[in-house]
Symmetry: C2
Subunit: 148 residues, 2 copies
Amino acid sequence: MRLIDGRTGIEVIEREECLELLRSTDIGRIAVVDAGHPVIFPVNYAMDGDVIVLRTAEGTKLDAALQGGPVAFEIDDADPRSHGAWSVIVTGWARVAVAPAQLERFEQLGLHPWSEHRKDSWVTVHPERVTGRRIVAEGERAAPDTQA
Amino acid sequence: MRLIDGRTGIEVIEREECLELLRSTDIGRIAVVDAGHPVIFPVNYAMDGDVIVLRTAEGTKLDAALQGGPVAFEIDDADPRSHGAWSVIVTGWARVAVAPAQLERFEQLGLHPWSEHRKDSWVTVHPERVTGRRIVAEGERAAPDTQA
């Protein structure tokens, strides 16, 4: 079932499909609050079940994680021609993973830093809220008289 | 001149090239702080000189903008095969544009909402800090003995 807001043409992506989309790609952006200011970092990531897993070096991301700070995580894709696009936004809490069993499992995720920068810490984002939106491509939108 | 950190393989993109990259694409993500929590929104945008211009409907983005809140704005691109990637991050302040001359100029930017959702407000992000990073594709990295 597609939940579409006829007025805005924006489709709601339900949680399960959001999680599938999170599993289908490996680049996202994480935002944290640093001294009252929002900060964004692009990251590569993997999923461990419903948990987002990142590797990080020391810095703001890790600092925030160590403090168990609130984070937002986003993935998206867009087609500039059709103006079709989707995005998934996760809000939750970051934690540094230290449990040996967990670290052993994370090592199997195939999550390697893209740069040669050492990233020795594993950070997890436990989703509290997972929301998705899809802008249906222009050619695939319902005609006005069928909209809600 | 390319500024490359030999240890991390990460290239610094200087401000002028960051601004060129901002002009070369039209989808980014904006982060604001809402009640102490980071919030990210994917947005389409245009540049008016060095200023990022968005359209928005009422909501958190606009609320933050109306309060002249600090924002972070991010664009990126990545090649999953070569692990080459770049990102540009802008931090600055959001403002709602109301000056008639400015609005008239913005109307010429060709910035249309992708969805059919009405977006009557124009918001600008005045960059305070513009930084860029590029992870050089694996095949193009300097050999270890030539690194700094």
